[in-house]
Structures are given as structure tokens and as C-alpha cells.
């Protein structure tokens, strides 16, 4: 570092503060440049944290954040004792764990197939098609899903009718709705999640495979005893990182897909917050639930990141 060179020439007693001061001055332009970002950050990230104190208040729009009366933990206890509490927790965890169970293994499977495929054209086509849905919004996904599942003109219902069955309204059926959520997520995101596994596969030392081949291992054995163990650290890391966001069950997706008849199996913490807060104006309650979720999320993220650091040596932050 350049600053260490002239440091020796300064009188030793003053060198500490002097050097710091000079260092600050040297980076003046950096501070000026980033000051706008920092002010932005203070407003858009820290004011909401300040606002979140209304979780402990009975928020009245006219009295504002600071003027509303304190109610202690009443909003929290209202939520925990509400009829919906366990249902919301169950649905949220069900969807995030379900997505993890379906989409991580299918991403691994896809990555291994792409890695092992010798036909370039097929590999490139599937790869391109698999990444694509990640970039489509859930509004667009909803349109695509309706083209498949709509009772009047959907593909699946036309097939059912072809076999003489009655059309099913899948989107408003409490039995099929969770599956639509899980499978549409797998369809949309598996390809994208495969990227990290594909990257890990590319990093495997080819001499391992050569050695296995010389020893007479079959291709199946290669996958079982070399490929999978080699990418195990990445698999563990992805699982742990997903554990850290277990309370995020996918707001945009559920919000687009759900409707009143399926609330009991579709409602997650985030959709409930939206309805209570924005539609019913119960700001205090909705904020309390948001804080509850945020605090849990923080702990989970912290723990999962610690575990990732322990297992793979590098963390998320």
C-alpha cells in the first residue's frame, strides 16, 4: 500500500492520527461519490427500520409513527394467539421446505444430465430452455399456467375431457393448489438453480474419472462414487442457505396464484401481512408480524451462514 512508504518520515508520536487524516483526505473523492448512495441507503433502508417501531404502537395514520400510542407487545400477542397463526406458519414452512425438496434434487439431476450429455445440440437446447423461465415474472407464469390448467380451455382439462372426465378447477381446489405452487416453482427455477451445481461439476478434477475408468468403473459408478461426493459440499451449502430463508415461501408466486377458495392452504406469512396491512389498514399488526418474521429470518440466516462457513470455508457475507 502506497501510504506505508511516507509514513516512516512522519514524527512517530503524531503518525497515527496524521496518517489516518491523510488517508481520509486521499479518499475524499470516494467519500463524496458514495455519499449519495449512503444517503439513499440511510433513507430507504434505515427509515423503514425506524418505522418498524409501530409494531409496538397502535398506529394511527394521523398521529404518525412517533405520535401513535404505545401498546407494548399487544400486536405480537394478537398474532400469536390468532386463529391463523399456526396455519400461516404451517403453509409457509410447507411451501419453502417443499420447494427445497423438489427443486434442489431436480436441479442436481438436471446439472448431472447436462454435464454427462455428449450431444452438444441437445445439451445447449435444454440448457437455454431451462434457464429461461427464471426471467419471466409470476404474472407471465400465471398466464402460462392458466393455458395449461384453466377449466374451460386448459390443456390438461382438455385431456381429461378427451378421456371422458369432468374438467377440474385446479387453481381453486385445496388439494391441487399446493402441488401447482410446488411444481410451477420447480419448472421455473430448477434450471437456474442448476447453474451452481454445473459450476461445481466443471470443477471436478478429470483425472479422477480417468483413474476410475482405468479401474473399470461403469458410468453409473462414476456418478455415484465420484460426481456426487465431489459436489457434496456445494449441495450442503445450497441446502443450508435455503434453510436461512425458510420463512420466504415466495410471495409473488402465491399472491398471483391464490384466490379466496384456497386461502386455507395458500396463505403464507407474507400474503397475510399484505392483506392485513395494506388492505385492512392494520399497520401495527402487520408490522409486528413482519418484525416477527424478520427476527426469525435473521437468526436462521445467521445460523445457516455460520454453518456454511464451517463446512465450506466461505459464507454469504
Amino acid at each position: 500500500m502506497a501510504d506505508t512508504v511516507p509514513a516512516g518520515m512522519v514524527a512517530p508520536t503524531k503518525s497515527g492520527t496524521n496518517q489516518l487524516w491523510r488517508n481520509v483526505k486521499r479518499h475524499k473523492s470516494i467519500y463524496i461519490l458514495s455519499s449519495i448512495s449512503i444517503i439513499y441507503f440511510a433513507i430507504f433502508k434505515y427509515v423503514p427500520i425506524w418505522n418498524s417501531q409501530i409494531a409496538f404502537r397502535d398506529f394511527q395514520a394521523l398521529q404518525g409513527v412517533v405520535g401513535s400510542p404505545w401498546v407494548g407487545l399487544r400486536n405480537f400477542s394478537d398474532f400469536v394467539h390468532s386463529y391463523y397463526f399456526w396455519e400461516l406458519i404451517r403453509n409457509t414452512v410447507m411451501y419453502s421446505v417443499g420447494k427445497m425438496i423438489i427443486s434442489i434434487p431436480s436441479a442436481i439431476f438436471l446439472a448431472i444430465c447436462l454435464y454427462e450429455c455428449r450431444i452438444n445440440f441437445l445439451r445447449k437446447t435444454v440448457q437455454t430452455l431451462a434457464y429461461l423461465p427464471h426471467f419471466l415474472s409470476w404474472v407471465i407464469m400465471y398466464g402460462i399456467i392458466m393455458a395449461l390448467l384453466s377449466p374451460s380451455s386448459g390443456l390438461l382439462n382438455d385431456i381429461i375431457k378427451l378421456f371422458g372426465g369432468q374438467p377440474v378447477s385446479f387453481m381453486t381446489d385445496t388439494n391441487s393448489f399446493p402441488w401447482i405452487v410446488l411444481l410451477s416453482d420447480a419448472w421455473k427455477e430448477s434450471g437456474w438453480s442448476a447453474i451452481i451445481f454445473l459450476a461445481a461439476l466443471m470443477g471436478i478434477d478429470p483425472s479422477l474419472f480417468e483413474a476410475a475408468m482405468v479401474e473399470g468403473a461403469s458410468a453409473w459408478q462414476r456418478v455415484r462414487y465420484i460426481t456426487l461426493p465431489s459436489i457434496r459440499p456445494v449441495i450442503v451449502m445450497v441446502f443450508l442457505l435455503r434453510m436461512g430463508t425458510i420463512l420466504d415461501a415466495g410471495f409473488n408466486q402465491i399472491f398471483m396464484l391464490y384466490s379466496l377458495p384456497v386461502y386455507s392452504v395458500a396463505d403464507i406469512i407474507d400474503t397475510w401481512i399484505y392483506r392485513q396491512g395494506i388492505l385492512e389498514f392494520r399497520f401495527g399488526l402487520a408490522t409486528a408480524v413482519g418484525l416477527f418474521k424478520g427476527a426469525f429470518g435473521f437468526i436462521l440466516l445467521f445460523v445457516s451462514n455460520k454453518l456454511v462457513r464451517k463446512t465450506s470455508g466461505t459464507g454469504l457475507y
Binding site: R26, Y40, K45, N51, V126, A147, I195, A199, S218
Partner: protein, 294 residues
């Protein structure tokens, strides 16, 4: 691997299994897309099942649904709004993210640790919807397009990806410029930024995709129907059944409502499909960088 050893029977079975799996995956991925495409071209006089629709020969396809949408005032207006959000959003996001990421990447910057903590805390602790809603409405952003992109104009995740890119630029490059008397500002403008085009494009597209696809902020903050972007219009079209005020279907009547819905889905997706080759090229790199490097 180029195998010199003659493949055994089980190896051939393995290869067949891999190819068959990929073909199956292709079909699973392709059918929903294909059914949407064919639905959008369905002519008004079409009779038959969706299966017939999917195998309808192209010379019987009708572009009436697309004509109806592209000639529709609210659709054109929504498209313009979406593009404005897309470009304004990317510009704002890059202008705000880059200096922050660069400041975080300078190891000698006094106060860097504090700055890092300042950035990471809101990332780890998400306070949720309502406090943010109060902020955005309190700032008077209601019914301004900026309400869609400004709340997400600095993503901590993107900032960290950009930071690790900046950190990867060899220190010697900056050092030699400094020895020649360049200020930190000159180093940034003359050395760092010219080298950062790929990361700017990647991060810009990251933001762009998110802004283009956003419907929730738009729904929360844009009540004026003249301001609604494509996802909101699309949502209204999709949720409506039959006649509705959003697309004035009755005024056209040349295309079935399902075809109009499917066509609007495709039109809203087209910009992402056009950007996709670039996205794929740079995103995959960026994602690996972001996921494997801390």
C-alpha cells in the same frame, strides 16, 4: 471425456438414460410454452380441444389477438411505462450501486468496516412490507414511476457481487496510476470503470429484469391507470373473465379472449426474450461469481 476404452454395455445404457432424461426435460419445459404460443395464434372460428390447438398448422394461425393488443391504447401506454421504468431504473440503480460497491472494495478506505456493517445490517434484518410502504408513501412517491424502482435501486446482493468484481481488479493497475500522480477519482474513472463494462452490463440487467417484472410495487404505489406498467395491465387482463374494461375486447371481437390473454403474456415476455442471449452470457458468470465467492 474422450474415452479410449471401448464403452461397455452399462455405459451405453447410461448414455441412453442421460439423453432420454434430457429429451423428457425438454418436453416438460417446452409444452407449457408451446401451448401458450399456439393459444395466442388461435383463430376466432377455431373449434376443438387444446390438443388440436397445439397441432394447428401455422397457415391457419391468426394474428388477430396481437393486432388487437398492439392497436390498443392502454396496451401501448403500459408498454411505454414499462420501458421507462426499465431504463430509468437501470440508470438510477447503477448510479447508486457503483460508488457504494467501489467504496466497499477499497481496502485502505478509512471507515470501510463501518460502511460494510451499515450496508449488511438491513440485508440481514428485513423489516417487511408496511414500514417500507409508509416510507414510500411518506416520500410522496405515490403515482410516480420512481416508486417502482427507487425502493430497490440498491440491492445489497448486487452491491456485494460488484464489490467482489472490483476487488478482483489487480491492485498493481491502481498502484501504478497512483505513482503517476493520479487521484483516487482519476483511478476510478480512467482505470476501474473502463474495465467494468461486463459487470455493469450484468448488474444492470439484473436490476432491469427485476424492474421489468415487478408488479407488486406498481400495484402498491401506482393507482393512476395512465401510469400502469405492463405487468399490471397483464394481470388485469388475465384476471378478467370475458368482457372487460381493460382491453375493450368487445371492440375487437376478432380474437377469442383466451388468445388475447396468451398474446399479452407473450408480448410482455418478448423484451426479456430479446435480452436473454446477453443475459445468459453474462448472468451465468455473475451468478457463479456471486454464489461461489463470498
Amino acid at each position: 471425456m474422450a474415452s479410449v476404452i471401448k464403452p461397455s454395455k452399462s455405459d451405453r445404457a447410461f448414455n441412453v438414460f442421460v439423453v432420454a432424461s434430457l429429451v423428457l426435460l425438454f418436453i416438460i419445459l417446452f409444452i407449457p410454452i408451446w401451448s401458450t404460443i399456439t393459444l395466442s395464434f388461435r383463430p376466432n372460428d377455431f373449434i376443438g380441444s387444446a390438443l388440436d390447438g397445439m397441432t394447428l398448422p401455422p397457415w391457419r394461425w391468426s394474428v388477430a389477438a396481437f393486432r388487437a393488443l398492439l392497436g390498443n391504447n392502454s396496451f401501448v401506454k403500459a408498454t411505454i411505462n414499462s420501458f421507462r421504468i426499465f431504463f430509468e431504473g437501470i440508470a438510477a440503480a447503477l448510479l447508486l450501486t457503483t460508488p457504494l460497491a467501489y467504496a466497499l472494495s477499497i481496502k485502505t478506505l478509512p471507515g470501510r468496516k463501518f460502511l460494510y456493517l451499515f450496508v449488511i445490517i438491513p440485508y440481514l434484518f428485513d423489516v417487511g412490507l408496511v414500514p417500507n410502504y409508509l416510507l414510500v408513501t411518506g416520500l410522496g412517491l405515490t403515482n410516480k414511476l420512481a416508486a417502482v424502482y427507487l425502493p430497490g435501486a440498491i440491492s445489497v446482493y448486487n452491491t456485494l457481487i460488484m464489490k467482489s468484481f472490483f476487488e478482483g481488479i489487480p491492485e498493481e493497475l491502481k498502484e501504478s496510476a497512483r505513482i503517476d500522480g493520479a487521484s483516487e477519482f482519476t483511478v476510478l474513472m480512467r482505470i476501474i470503470l473502463p474495465l467494468s463494462k461486463p459487470i455493469m452490463l450484468t448488474i444492470g440487467l439484473y436490476y432491469g429484469v427485476r424492474f421489468w417484472n415487478d408488479f407488486f410495487n406498481a400495484m402498491l404505489y401506482l393507482n393512476d391507470s395512465a401510469l400502469q406498467p405492463l405487468p399490471i395491465l397483464l394481470r388485469n387482463i388475465l384476471l378478467s373473465s370475458g368482457m372487460n374494461e381493460y382491453v375493450e375486447v368487445s371492440a375487437f371481437g376478432e380474437a377469442p379472449i383466451e388468445a388475447i390473454k396468451a398474446a399479452s403474456v407473450l408480448l410482455a415476455a418478448i423484451p426479456m426474450l430479446v435480452a436473454y442471449p446477453f443475459i445468459q452470457k453474462y448472468f451465468v458468470k455473475g451468478t457463479m461469481l456471486g454464489s461461489l465467492k463470498g
